[in-house]
């Protein structure tokens, strides 16, 4: 029951419910008057015409409150709800109780009482969509109920703002707002960038950085700090320096004193400063409660377009005689406090740094990774931009290609870059992201034929932590794989239709090299059903050569954008681990669902062989032949080997071993490889890999107790192979699988004994 207590009388004159015209007020009054709500009663209706029509409902609400209360909320509270004709804001809700406590989530108004309840964070336009009378009443009751428990502001909720914005925004260089970075006093150049009915956006730079012909005004800035201030009560924006001085004195800032000192400094420093405006940047150190740590800092800017000269006068800093500021000396100093100097409160936006970008991307910021990025095409440019936006990387972009209008369809750059080198354009874009030091440089070079830039290209590869290859070119990848740089290689590219993204990433120690990962990727294509359509060509297009990375000229940007997104995330997660990675993401285009196909990268063995040949064979092949051998014991078995040649570098990559054709002869001491279906099987593999994997040689097993050395028959087979392959200058290759899962590989000629592999 309501106790005897003093209530504040709201504005306006008493009227009947019938006299209400504002729809929400009327609806609310009618529902409350009907008595349908259990815990809310309508006491009176009022109308005020001051500053537009306001209809005020005085109501009484029963509050659910616990026995043990944190704040003195009564079981029944008297509230005024003020509906405004403009309906542009949530109806203001006032507690009419004279002794209503000062708690969190109150709006501070010009008059402290009646206290104004801050009911909702949601914008009113959003609330309007599902606004109902009972819903609004419940907001009030819930506010009171949770306040009585001291739970309105949850411990894990961020602190409340001290000041609501005024519609003004100002972007300020990061260092100006941080006193430790030399904030203090600065000279700024401020331009008005955006104007709408509701606000203005101002952009400040250091005066020294401002271009000569840029419009705008010179301002002196003063960065100050105050607090601690316990959050909860939301202040109204001060409108004069006088009001600001009064506001901050309670939170430990003698602003008048600081201004006097600051202005005197400015005057002595530079006479021109007297004609500039003034922006005060105040950092409010906020805490959740008294004696708790500083949990957040709210930075606000207070701008005045009055000149420093006039402000000085208004603060009693000096008087103006003949246009000169003459300081007051001795005892005749008056003490006005900035009356009549209007100020504008603006929300402060800091310029973005890479570490800020990392934070906003949910990443921990670390020392930037030095990236040599090869290829600034459609995928490359978007991938590089995604990563740079996340504050990732210190970049060298390498590409010799030009940017043409058709590139705009799927590229990070726009028409203003047409005719430029792509690397130049992308590096410039990257450098436009943040203030401060540049994050990108460029080399307009062809990585395969750098010409005069060879040294620069080599240096950038050598100095990089990571070489990010998005050139979509097998020769480039092979070239990078073999380069002397120690940087970890990561290669990303799309399949011809753009539905699949491929990521090949070396391990940190480069034990599985990029070219070997490429081979394992081909094996994935040859063996996995999900990869059946991987190399399909867009309708109407014909494959020429070994173009498994040929990009269609018609491919939707949305697919590229998806892959650039997956790719930039994958690059980050890959580099966070030391392991190699082979993964393909496939977009099922009609549904736009993404699935992934991957294989664990296998350890690779490199062996030098006669004739200057190198052989790379990975553990998968060795395991495969060992398994087949064991499965056929006591008989010998065998089959053909599948792989690839790098004729230029004289490398043979052994990628897979096929089992024995059905017409093979298998005896304990004899094996004759048949040929039934063999050509078809190999053709299938060649088709699946666009010819990247081919027949490269023979393998067979030896029984237990027999060394992995060629028998007389084996030597004959080898010379038969040599004879046939010599036409193509390809070396004969034979692998013998023996006991203890060990194998020996002979290449070019059977001379000395190569080491056994297992």
């Amino acid at each position: 029951m309501a106790k005897d207590m003093n209530f504040i009388s709201p504005d306006g004159v008493l009227v009947d419910v019938d006299a209400l015209v504002l729809p929400r007020a009327k609806q609310c009054a009618v529902i409350l008057a009907s008595g349908i709500l259990n815990f809310t009663r309508l006491l009176e209706c009022r109308v005020s015409e001051s500053g537009g029509r306001h209809e005020i409902l005085v109501i009484e609400v029963d509050v659910q409150r616990p026995q043990k209360r944190v704040h003195d909320i009564h079981s029944c509270e008297r509230i005024a709800v003020i509906f405004d004709e403009s309906d542009s804001q949530i109806p203001e809700t006032l507690s009419l109780r004279e002794d209503f406590p000062r708690v969190a989530h109150l709006n501070l108004r010009r008059h402290e009482k009646p206290r104004s309840l801050c009911l909702e964070e949601r914008p009113w336009d959003d609330m309007k969509l599902d606004w109902t009378v009972p819903g609004h009443i419940e907001l009030i009751r819930s506010w009171l109920s949770r306040t009585s428990r001291g739970e309105l502001h949850q411990p894990d909720q961020p602190l409340e703002p001290l000041l609501f914005g005024s519609g003004y925004h100002i972007v300020i260089p990061d260092d100006v707002t941080r006193p430790e970075a030399g904030g203090g006093q600065q000279k700024l150049h401020i331009v008005l960038r955006g104007t709408t009915e509701e606000g203005r956006v101002l952009v400040a730079r250091h005066l020294a950085d401002a271009p000569k012909d840029a419009g705008g005004l010179a301002f002196a800035s003063l960065t100050l700090e105050c607090g601690p201030v316990v959050h909860g009560v939301i202040w109204s924006c001060p409108e004069t320096i006088q009001e600001l001085i009064a506001l901050v004195i309670d939170v430990g800032l003698d602003l008048r004193d600081q201004l006097l000192r600051g202005l005197t400094g400015l005057q002595q420093d530079d006479a021109k400063s007297l004609d500039s405006g003034l922006v005060l940047i105040i950092r409010f150190l906020k805490q959740r409660d008294v004696d708790q740590k500083i949990e957040a800092i709210e930075t606000k800017a207070f701008l005045t377009f009055s000149t420093v000269r006039d402000i000085g006068v208004a603060l009693g800093c000096w008087a103006i005689h003949d246009g000169h500021a003459v300081p007051f000396v001795g005892g005749d100093m008056p003490s006005p406090n900035g009356e009549g100097i209007p100020i504008i409160t603006a929300n402060v936006h800091h310029t973005l740094t890479p570490s800020g970008a990392a934070y906003l991307n949910g990443r921990d910021f670390e020392e930037p990774v030095k990236v040599a990025a090869i290829g600034a095409g459609a995928l490359g440019s978007q991938l590089q931009m995604n990563l740079a936006r996340a504050g990732f990387g210190q970049w060298t972009i390498i590409d010799d290609d030009w940017f043409f209008p058709h590139n705009i369809a799927r590229h990070e750059l726009n028409k203003f870059a047409v005719g430029q080198n792509k690397a130049l354009g992308v590096a410039a874009e990257l450098n436009c992201l943040h203030d401060g030091e540049q994050i990108a440089s460029m080399l307009p070079a062809n990585i395969l034929r750098p010409g005069g830039m060879e040294e620069l290209v080599s240096r950038s590869l050598n100095e990089a932590d990571v070489i990010l290859d998005a050139a979509a070119s097998v020769p480039v990848s092979r070239h990078l794989a073999k380069h002397a740089s120690n940087a970890r290689r990561v290669s990303v590219f799309l399949n011809p239709t753009g539905t699949d993204l491929v990521l090949l990433a070396e391990d940190k120690d480069r034990r599985v090299r990029l070219d070997c990962l490429e081979m394992q990727y081909y094996r994935l294509m040859a063996t996995r059903a999900e990869m059946a359509h991987h190399l399909e060509l867009p309708a109407g297009q014909v494959r020429y050569g070994l173009g498994c990375r040929d990009l269609s000229s018609r491919m939707p940007q949305d697919l590229l954008s998806i892959h650039a997104g997956i790719g930039s995330r994958a690059v980050q997660t890959t580099l966070a681990s030391n392991d190699a990675r082979l993964e393909v993401w496939q977009v099922d285009a009609p549904a736009m669902t993404v699935s992934s196909v991957n294989a664990e990268p296998m350890e690779v063995f490199w062996q030098e062989h006669p004739g200057g040949w190198l052989c790379a064979i990975d553990k998968h092949v060795l395991q495969r032949v060992a398994d087949l051998r064991e499965a056929n014991l006591p008989n010998e078995t065998g089959g053909v080997l599948i792989g690839a040649y790098d004729m230029a570098s004289k490398i043979v990559y052994v990628v897979d071993a096929l089992d024995a054709p059905p017409d093979s002869e298998q005896w304990p001491t004899l094996y004759v490889r048949g040929s039934d279906f063999l050509a078809e099987r190999i053709a299938k593999i060649e088709k699946a890999t666009a010819g990247r994997l081919v027949y490269i040689g023979e393998w067979h097993s030896h029984p237990d107790g027999c060394p992995t050395l060629p028998s007389g028959d084996d030597v004959k087979v080898f010379s038969w192979l040599t004879q046939h392959l010599a036409v193509e200058s390809k070396p004969a290759l034979m692998l013998i699988a023996g006991q203890h899962r060990a194998s020996r590989l002979f290449l070019w000629e059977i001379a000395d004994k190569p080491e056994e592999l297992s």
Binding site: G35, V63, Q64, P66, Q67, K68, R69, I137, R149
Partner: protein
Amino acid sequence: MPKITFFNLANADSIRVDLASGKKILFDFADRHAPDDDKELRCDLPAELRKDLGKRKNFDVVAFTHLDNDHYDGATDFFYFEHIKKYQGDVDGKPRIKMDMLWVPAAVITESLGHGDDVEAKAIQKEARERFKAKAGIRVFSRPGRLQEWCDENGVNLDERMGLVTDAGHVAPGFSREDDGVEFFVHSPFAKRQDENTVEDRNNDALVMQATFVVDDVETKLFLASDIEYGIIEDIVEITENRDRKERLEWDIFKLPHHCSYKALGLDKGENKTVPVPNVKKLFETYGNDGGVVVSTSETIPVKGDDRDNQKHANPPHRQAAAYYSQEVADPKDGEFKVTMEHPSAKKPEPLVIEIDEAKATVVLAEITGAAAVISKTAPRAG
């Protein structure tokens, strides 16, 4: 979070205690709902209880504080009686609800029921007696000696059943602060009365308990006063103070005795406000904690001069007693005085729920309107 629900049954009691551990205890049961009466404001207790039980088919404890029908009405149509076959089958196609444990004062076993007592009282008595004989599913609150005579007459060995009997001044076994976050202290029936009276008086031999709930080390105390009169309250205060157990008299939630009858306060109803006798005053005013909640399980409070108030021997609730509880008990503590048939409104009362947490007792004032109200109830029949 423990929760106490006082059902709106007019001048009848049923109170459910839900523990954080999931255990459910029901104090009394009175199905007085008249389904065909358009003006019926009392809740449909069996329906409410079944809705809450969901798939569950039992209460951990059912206590009958005494054998007046406003404390057991309809029990034989709702509960499963272990020892009475005809009260075991389904009711309206629904299985009966089991009483895992029955709590009764000794009088339920010992009193001789006459012609005036209905079959339900007799059924509960039989169930209690059989359970006692079977040594299972029952706790009897009494000085053990009080049961001696009945045991002798019925050839029951009391010594073998001492473990089923709890005297006043003790905590009821089966619940602990540690495991259940609650303990039940027994105030009545107590020895002094049992020794003095020769004629049994149900109301004054009723089961009276103080439950102490513990949430995050914060205690919240519920005083369940059944239908006792002021003399018994005086004795309870005196005995408990003499034993130096004042904490057992403290309360945060008080279930008023006998539907807000003035007789719980003193002999004289008073013109506008009943003046309690000293020890009763002490229990309500001194032992009540700040912000405490006083609950009258009763009809709405009459207004001075209305038909109910004008009756010569008016039944409870009495407006004079209500004035005392509201003005002298609840208000000075900044607490609440709640009447079950007036909550949330006399027009449409609903069960009164009190939640208990580290901020102690909170009377739930949930406004359920619109769609939420539609989906919380069975829809009217459609054509």
